[in-house]
């Protein structure tokens, strides 16, 4: 091959490498832009009072988002209580029965559920819970969010446990340790970091969901701890305030966005740290 051809090829190589680098940086821009705008608009309304006070009526200055924070925490707890054990158990089943009809169906169900638009899940929760209970409630919102968490946890658990060598399970069974203890005391602890990471990621995912809450948790301008009454949530508050005509409510929406994004960011960071720190070496 003559020199010119080689040089042309090397130029193409460099060109390709440059493209890869440029697009890598370009894909970071949206996140930083979002962070920049939210911080610029939201930081000014952030204060201690903003976190612990209730919203004030239109026209009054100040007021906070305490009801939405409490509501979001309630919703996340209601969602997690059934979704975490169910998801982890289903994930265990999948990693224990890699093939088989039930596994196939379960995997399919998890995939489809993960792809189901959140508004549809909201409608389902509305039909099942809101209508049968006769009113909007934190419970119905939590159930909708729990359904959204479930497939993420199932897949995370399965993927984590699949990486644990079979020899570990055999070591335990060969000591005469019963199957359920082998799973609970040997296999699950070895996969704890991956499973916890999956759970945190799924919480981060549902913390910002708005659509399924619109006709379940509904929103509530007051503080509410009762799970069969409507509650406010951060994304609901942002939605309602940002679409309102009042500029002071807009700034509260920016502040709430700031809080929400921080929560999601922190959850993701903690998940990363746990994935690294708790990593088990085989």
């Amino acid at each position: 091959m003559d020199q010119r051809k080689i040089e042309f090829r090397m130029a193409k190589d460099r060109g390709f490498e440059a493209m890869v680098i440029i697009f890598s940086f370009l894909s970071m821009i949206p996140l930083f832009l979002i962070l920049f705008y939210i911080l610029r608009n939201g930081l000014s309304s952030l204060s201690w009072e903003f976190l612990i006070e209730l919203p004030k009526p239109v026209g009054e200055v100040g007021g906070g988002i305490a009801n939405a924070i409490v509501g979001s925490v309630l919703l996340i707890i209601i969602a997690s209580l059934p979704a975490i054990p169910m998801g982890v158990m289903a994930g265990i089943y999948l990693s224990e029965h890699k093939r088989g009809r039930v596994s196939y169906l379960l995997r399919l169900a998890a995939e489809v559920l993960q792809g189901t638009p959140s508004i549809v899940i909201g409608i389902i929760a509305y039909l099942w819970v809101v209508i049968s209970m006769g009113g909007f409630s934190a419970l119905s919102g939590g159930i909708a969010l729990g359904i959204m968490m479930l497939p993420v946890i199932v897949r995370a658990t399965e993927e984590t446990l699949k990486l644990i060598p079979d020899s570990l399970k055999e070591a335990s069974l060969a000591l005469g340790i019963p199957y359920y203890k082998t799973i609970l005391k040997v296999i699950l602890p070895a996969g704890l970091s991956g499973i916890t990471t999956g759970i945190l990621i799924s919480v981060a995912r549902i913390a910002g969901e708005t659509a399924p809450l619109l006709f379940t948790a509904f929103g509530n301008p007051f503080m509410n701890w009762n799970i069969i009454k409507p509650v406010n949530a951060l994304p609901l508050l942002i939605y309602n305030y940002a679409t309102s005509p009042y500029p002071e409510w807009h700034s509260i929406a920016w502040g709430a966005s700031c809080v929400l994004v921080s929560i999601v960011l922190v959850l993701n960071l903690v998940a990363r740290i746990i994935a690294k720190r708790w990593k088990v070496q085989f």
Partner: protein, 252 residues
């Protein structure tokens, strides 16, 4: 020969319809090392996994025939009881990664919910680690994770973990195949010491290893027990042509 620890009578093992162990009759003498030797895929590992009922864990696996542990029918007892009495060491060292060296050594008790006093568990840990010739190397690091040890040390930790249960019989499934020569020599030496107190069955495809450590050798070929006898005799004057061909390196 003091007596027989384990006896297989017409034992066959299947993966689905595939018969990988074919009607094996074998008596394992007490406090000796018995080697199960043969080329890869001859059913050595499957055979010993029938003894502690690990074979049946594989979907589609099946066992026919009888096996007796000290004249008790292995397949009439609960597998968990059998596995506490027949220890097993695997090809790759597999200490429990979330547990300390200390907890690994007594994992069989802890996870089986045997209540041990502090002194008892201390004594058991020391005893079994000493039996596995690991105590001197790890006695100052008992609280560290077992996975920090070298491969050879990990394998000895696994031996200690099995010995702690005080088994009637210890199955070693190619325990040195993942280890370097030095660690292998260490484990081989350990096996010759261990036979003073416990009966060992060693699976290996390494003829030299079988010769170095074992008192009796069973030669398995294509799932059939071809020959069984004192190691020296079998190595110097094999009765069967297939044994001789394997020993002289014609196949395997």
């Amino acid at each position: 020969m003091e007596g027989t620890v384990l006896r297989a009578v017409n034992l066959s093992a299947y993966f689905g319809d595939n018969r990988v162990v074919k009607g094996v009759n074998l008596s394992i003498p007490e406090k000796m090392v018995t080697t199960v030797m043969g080329p890869s895929g001859c059913g050595k590992t499957t055979l010993i996994r029938c003894f502690n009922r690990m074979h049946e864990l594989i979907p589609g696996a099946k066992v026919e025939g009888k096996a007796y542990l000290r004249e008790e029918d292995i397949y009439a007892l609960n597998p968990m009881v059998i596995r506490r009495r027949i220890g097993m060491v695997f090809q790759r060292p597999n200490p429990f990664p979330t547990m300390s060296i200390y907890d690994n050594a007594i994992a069989g008790y802890k996870l089986n919910n045997f209540k041990l006093s502090r002194e008892e568990s201390d004594r058991l840990v020391e005893e079994s680690l000493k039996k596995a010739a690991l105590w001197d190397e790890v006695k100052d690091y008992l609280r560290r994770k077992g996975t920090f040890l070298s491969g050879g040390q990990q394998q000895r930790l696994c031996i200690a973990r099995a010995l702690a249960m005080n088994p009637d019989l210890l199955l070693l499934d190619e325990p040195t195949s993942a280890l370097d020569p030095k660690a292998t020599a260490h484990i081989e030496h350990l096996m010759t010491e261990l036979k003073e107190t416990v009966t060992l069955i060693l699976v290996t495809h390494n003829i030299a290893q079988a010769g170095r450590v074992s008192n009796f050798t069973a030669f398995l070929y294509l799932g059939e027990l071809v020959e069984f006898g004192p190691t020296e005799l079998l190595h110097t004057a094999p009765k069967d042509r297939r044994t001789e061909e394997f020993l002289t390196g014609k196949f395997g």
